[in-house]
């Protein structure tokens, strides 16, 4: 999540809101913009193949059909707004394997997480992936991650703090489970992130990632925030090009 005391930049669904999200060209553009990693969501097809999509359903012949009920062939027939097909995890890992980028996935359930690990293993990229509990899910960390952690002892796991909590107290951090399950860090919604929380998380020995960062003034605020000489570990943005530019100016 961090790179030589420089804030790691995740491109949200590729280039975020400036292109067709979760499309191959959006991922490619983000990589060309200089992001360090891609943050996205996954779904499983009927045969258990991992595809990169936020949506649980696709509109086919006017009906909303769950992705998990569709075969890869059927999913591939669906066209995104830029006329591309929904990419599979394999296609993306294959295309960017020589770039050294990382991948951060919000996973909906243990089965999905395990499939991601299995696919990443085929490409020797398990150390390039992070699996996160989405910030809208209220289950406990142990309910969410125990099965995945039992499957793989080393994969990086991240806890996205529930966005319901605008004031983040220690009890929301689930520190005991964080340590027991060897979870590496926290994703925090930028409207709730502040220096005091950053300091608290670092003192507990975890990584601190801020997500949803938009606007120049907020990017500059988080790119200049330091504790014990260290910048915030990572930022996720829907405007990764600007963020990379400001990071390179501020943290050179």
């Amino acid at each position: 999540m961090c790179d030589l005391n420089r804030t790691f930049i995740w491109g949200h669904r590729g280039t975020g809101l400036t292109g067709t999200q979760n499309s191959f060209s959006s991922f490619k553009n983000a990589v060309n913009m200089g992001v360090d990693g891609i943050k996205t969501e996954t779904k499983l097809s009927k045969e258990g193949e991992v595809v990169l999509s936020y949506y649980n359903t696709l509109k086919i012949d006017g009906k909303d059909v769950p992705i998990q009920e569709l075969t890869i062939e059927e999913i591939k027939k669906f066209k995104l707004e830029n006329n591309e097909s929904i990419p599979t995890l394999r296609e993306v890992l294959e295309a960017f394997k020589s770039y050294g980028i990382k991948y951060h996935f919000d996973v909906a359930n243990p089965e999905e997480g395990i499939k991601i690990i299995e696919t990443a293993k085929e490409y020797g990229l398990v150390d390039h992936i992070e699996l996160a509990k989405p910030s809208t899910r209220s289950e406990s960390l142990s309910d969410y991650f125990t099965e995945i952690r039992n499957f793989d002892k080393n994969v990086t796991l991240i806890n996205s703090i529930l966005i319901k909590h605008s004031v983040i107290e220690d009890k929301h951090l689930e520190l005991e489970d964080m340590r027991k399950l060897n979870i590496k860090g926290f994703n925090v919604y930028y409207n709730y992130a502040n220096f005091e929380l950053f300091k608290r998380v670092k003192e507990h020995g975890f990584k601190f990632c801020v997500w949803g960062v938009l606007f120049k003034r907020k990017m500059q605020k988080f790119l200049t925030m330091k504790y014990n000489g260290e910048y915030i570990d990572a930022i996720m943005s829907n405007q990764p090009e600007r963020l990379v530019k400001f990071r390179n100016e501020i943290q050179n």
């Binding site: 809101l17 809208t136 938009l214």
Partner: protein
Amino acid sequence: MNLTCTGCGEEIETLPLQCAHSLNKNEETNQWECYMENCGIISINEYICESCCTKRNIMKLNKTFERLSLENEEFKEELSFFKKTLLQTKIPNSDFKFWVEFGNGVYLSDKGEKDNPSVIFNCPQKNMNLILEGELSLLGEYFNGNLKIEGDLQYALVFFDIVKLALEINKEIGGV
């Protein structure tokens, strides 16, 4: 004598708390006027009910953001980083609806409904007003069930962020 709303024509049974605290006779117009917190100074002949007052306030806030997108370079620049996104708001048990289009450097809004929004908000009028004023959190209202969101939650978050930025800039430049 009945007090009738000049907006919807309904009889006004109770006055909003903030209304009619300051009634003055305007010597120039020779009319009684009321300082209503949200509406500014209006003549008693234009008196409106709380519901119409909130609607008017919602659209007034939207028009403030619209004006900022034309006049403030920072806000205009930030909006240029988004592609055009349509947000539709519906108010339960009311025919009052409004839409907001943001992106490509502009913020536009009007009463009514538009086709194919990226996200639909369904929220009581008062709560929507307070969200736009920055007094209530969009996520707080979402999690307590007052605000229902159809579509991608991230567009809702982006809209909320844009509103927050607009309020921040508006305050900095001393806007009303």
